[in-house]
């Protein structure tokens, strides 16, 4: 296991490097605007000012020099991550690290809350559907699942805002007031709609997947063995069926959560939540390369770590899987 973890860590570094190179190349080769021109306020600025900004950002240097500079900023020395000297936002003129870490709690709150909700919703629905297969409950659940996977998040979000905030006034509106921290915003219900909307699609998907897995597992011969032992049907389903049916879902869950931690762009945008996803969109609009790079690396990091955790968890859950 130890050796395996070392190998995976080296792999992690390799993947992060590739991601950073690709991000850099895309940014240099396909510039969505001139960062220097943008930073100086666009049309009103004189050519000298723009040149000065370009020089300031280091964008007048050869590409290789630019790359080395950005690459060096990623190496955890002298700063441990996203060296401030290099990773300084073109737009807001603050260190990327500061921005990212100030936005991270919102995204974490959104992603983790939604994840808890979709598990609480999707897993029981999937189980009930499978156990009560072909009954009204099963049909109703699957209709819910179909609607859930089909409804686009931006539409659901708008709909929820319109009904529960604008019409019924049951919920606070979008955004987080400046004087509220993430925790206080959660307490005042500002995350409820984002959680529900973000979790619905996942809940629907998980319900369908778990139903399918469980139905398949319940047809396995070791389930017949469990019944032949004289176990109660509940134990057969929960101890023998679910154990095997949920294991593959763990893999997916890790990846989904990891992906969301890198920013739930649509949900954050519609609900105007100042999370990583929203920051990413703004930075791309502003051609704010250091910020884009920082966010991309953070997102990639979450996904790779999630992958690693999932693989390690799998070895514990399924004894047939051993890494060496």
């Amino acid at each position: 296991m130890g050796r395996y973890l070392i190998r995976r860590t080296l792999f992690l570094i390799l993947v992060l490097w590739i991601v950073s190179v690709v991000t850099f190349v895309i940014f240099v080769k396909l510039p969505p605007g001139d960062p220097a021109r943008r930073a100086t306020g666009g049309r009103g600025a004189s050519e000298e000012q723009i040149e000065a900004a370009r020089h300031n950002f280091g964008l007048d240097k050869p590409i290789l020099t630019q790359y080395l500079r950005f690459a060096k900023g990623l190496v955890p020395w002298p700063s441990w991550f996203l060296y401030d000297e290099v990773y300084h936002s073109y737009g807001s003129n603050v260190p990327v690290k500061e921005q990212v870490f100030s936005r991270l709690p919102v995204t974490i709150a959104l992603a983790v809350g939604a994840a808890v909700m979709w598990l609480l919703l999707g897993v029981p629905i999937g189980i009930i559907s499978a156990v009560k297969r072909r009954t009204i409950i099963d049909r109703a659940s699957m209709v819910f699942a179909l609607i859930g996977v089909s409804a686009p998040v931006f539409w659901l979000a708008q709909l929820a805002l319109y009904i529960f905030w604008f019409k019924l006034e049951w919920m606070p509106g979008s955004g987080i007031p400046l004087d509220q921290g993430v925790f206080k915003a959660m307490l005042t219900g500002r995350f409820i709609m984002p959680w529900v909307v973000l979790s619905l699609t996942f809940a629907a998907f998980y319900a369908r997947m778990i139903r399918g897995n469980l139905i398949e597992t319940m047809g396995e011969e070791y389930i017949r063995t469990a019944r032949a032992k004289g176990l109660s049907e509940r134990k057969v389903v929960f101890r023998h069926g679910l154990r095997a049916a949920l294991t593959p879902a763990v893999t997916l869950f890790g990846l989904d959560l990891g992906g969301l931690l890198g920013g739930a762009i649509i949900t954050e945008s519609v609900f105007n939540l100042p999370g990583i996803g929203k920051l990413a969109i703004q930075s791309i609009y502003n051609s704010d390369f250091p910020m884009v790079m920082g966010i991309t690396i953070i997102g990639a990091f979450f996904i790779i770590i999630a992958n690693l955790l999932v693989d390690v968890a799998y070895a514990f859950l399924d004894p047939r899987v051993r890494y060496e």
Binding site: E221, T225, R227, A228, G230, D318, P319
Partner: protein, 337 residues
Amino acid sequence: MPQPLLEVEDLTVHFPTEDGLVKAVDGISFSIQQGETLGIVGESGSGKSVSFLTVMGLVNQKQAHITGSVRFQGQDLLTIPAEELRTIRGAKMSMIFQDPMTSLHPFYKVGQQIAEAIRTHQPVGKAEAWDQAVDMLGRVGIPRPEERAKQYPHEFSGGMRQRAMIAMALSLNPDLLIADEPTTALDVTVQAQILDLIDRLKSEFNAAVAIITHDLGVVAEHCDNIQVMYAGRIVEAGDTNDIYYKSHHPYTWGLLRSIPRLDSATNERLKPIQGSPPSLINVPSGCPFHPRCPYVMDVCKVERPPLNPADGHHASACHLTLTDKQRIFSEEVLVHR
């Protein structure tokens, strides 16, 4: 005769499907005495597994029409509440299955799975159940049972897994062990070991055994009585001697002729039974075996032959006269063996 341990009477198991009614078991009656070993022989789809899964209560009553009676130690298993049936299943009556590779749960240690069976029926603690499980693994011939109990099924070979299944099935000292094709998925060398083990444990635990198989060769040495099933019915029943040396049914003859012999002087080809197993939805009229029977007569196509006792309890369902049966058997079947 004492009261039988298991008495099945006029059992039918029909599955409604989109294509029609599948008559998996179509009116069978038999009994197993305490300490008896009964062999149930027939090809795939003859209803041999389904009838014993029904006995165990493992056929979903919602998906099947089950009629008749299954009396086990005086109780009708088809009518007692599910709760009560569960106290019998796994304790007084247990079952091992064809494929030991897939019959054990891949995520639980072998010892845990046996201990779980013990704890389901006995009020013992975890540690004691584990010790009993280890003890059982030792008794079925698994070396170093303390270590093996801590392993997972995938760390066991096929033969070892079947031993573990047997250990689980016998861990509560059942009165009836049902072995559904216990050796079919195993290597030939391991087959004999497993059958010998079942034999030995049977006398050790004083249990009755039902061995379900498609291979008449398997049951010869190990069974007291044999019944041959075809298309959901019993076509011949008798003691092992009757079936091997005095068989009265053309289907059994076909099975006997298809047993390979290593000591045969000539390089004789095996004689398979012509045709394929009948559809259980459109079972042939009259005797269901008539489309494949070399001795078919007109009456076979219209009239279903009853299971008639010829002598004692040797019975066969065939329209041929007893003299014809004896003549054909000695002239055409016995000479090949």
